[in-house]
């Protein structure tokens, strides 16, 4: 009877945590690595996409991150949070990519600017997510790759400043400075390119 009861209880498969998975991967288990990739893809791709702003590039960068992860897994120290280590890798790869892309694009796009008429600006704006996405893509171009990465992690990924400091290997005050400057630069850009959005700050 006891055996029958046991059979009726659904067995709960307890998934190994990140550190356990890493330990298994280090022993040469490729399936464990696949499990880790599956688990982290959503987060890694989202961060890449928000920093880079282009889905195809973000996909390539996310894949590169996982390949680097596979190659450098021996260097991971389990006394630190795995996500911090992973996010450090993501930001490093994404920032490198942004730097190389910026140097290519700066020459082409430096003179392009979308400016709304003052009449349009006075009409006010209905803030919608799709629009905000396009606005962000435009105005965040003025940020340095590092500023953008910090802004994305703080504002969009909701990562506290102290954790961002750990990810980037810098002081928390540095993170706050970058954040402050990023907000200031973006407001300036909003005033230049999207005065209807800049009015939101003026009207407060």
């Amino acid at each position: 009877m006891a055996a029958e009861l046991r059979l009726m209880i659904p067995t709960q498969s307890v998934e190994p945590d990140d550190r356990e998975l890493v330990r298994t991967i280090r022993q040469g288990d490729a399936e464990a690595f696949e499990q880790l990739v599956r688990r982290k893809t959503g987060k890694v791709y989202a961060l890449c996409y928000r920093i880079i702003g282009n889905s195809e590039d973000a996909k390539d960068i996310a894949q590169l991150v996982f390949i680097k992860l596979w190659e450098n897994l021996e260097k991971y120290d389990p006394q630190y949070a795995f996500d911090t280590w992973l996010y450090r890798m993501v930001t490093n790869v994404a920032i490198d990519f942004m730097r190389s892309r910026q140097s290519r694009e700066n020459a082409v796009n430096s003179n392009l600017r979308l400016v709304k008429t003052s009449e349009e600006a006075e009409q006010g704006v209905v803030v919608q997510r799709k629009e905000v996405e396009a606005v962000f893509r435009e105005v965040s171009n003025v940020l340095s790759p590092k500023q953008k990465a910090i802004f994305v992690m703080r504002e969009m990924e909701d990562i506290p400043s102290c954790d961002i400091a750990k990810i980037l290997g810098c002081r928390e005050s540095t993170v706050r400075n970058h954040l402050f400057n990023a907000r200031k630069l973006m407001q300036e850009q909003l005033r230049k390119r999207y005065p209807e959005y800049a009015r939101l700050w003026r009207d407060r």
Binding site: F66, V127, E155, M156, L200
Partner: protein
């Protein structure tokens, strides 16, 4: 997710409330409402849940695993030339040692056990000054020099005799 009324009641500038942020990221009406009260919140609406890469999760994971496999194979291939090079180096070193050893061994005067003793005319042996030609028989037959070493190589028959002369005073084209 919380309702719009609840959101508007709970919303405050610089909010960190996960429930409020979740609603902000899903509802355009409330985003507009919030942005007019705290414009800083505008870009926070772009954050939120995890995202699926183009082509889907499965295709992404397959791509990654394939690339990892390719890299692993490449790394193995990269290691092989080193191994091959090492092996070649070891073989070359062994050959050099063998040649040097045998040269040293042969250069010494060592009687072969069981063979007839080599008649040594003079003791001043200079093994590295080997003559280019040994065919000038008349010169050999009448040859006499105090500093030279003349070695007669033992032969099976009596009709041919091989003689080696080591003498630095002789001209090279003798």
């Amino acid at each position: 997710m919380i309702a719009c009324q609840e959101f508007r009641a709970a919303f405050a500038p610089a909010t960190e409330d996960p429930g409020v942020l979740e609603h902000l990221r899903a509802c355009d009406d409330c985003l507009d409402y919030a942005a007019h009260r705290d414009p800083e919140v505008m870009f926070r609406a772009l954050g939120g849940p995890e995202m699926v890469p183009p082509g889907g999760l499965e295709a992404f994971v397959d791509d990654v695993m394939r690339q990892v496999q390719v890299r692993s194979t490449e790394n193995e291939m990269d290691l092989r030339p080193h191994l091959r090079l090492r092996r070649r180096f070891a073989v070359a070193a062994a050959l050099v040692l063998t040649i040097a050893g045998s040269t040293l061994f042969l250069s010494r005067e060592r009687p072969v056990p069981g063979a007839a003793p080599v008649p040594v005319v003079s003791r001043a042996v200079r093994p590295f000054a080997l003559p280019v030609s040994l065919t000038t028989k008349p010169a050999v037959e009448t040859y006499q020099a105090a500093e030279a070493t003349i070695v007669e190589v033992p032969q099976d028959g009596d009709d041919v005799k091989v003689v080696m002369i080591f003498d630095e005073s002789l001209p090279a084209d003798l």
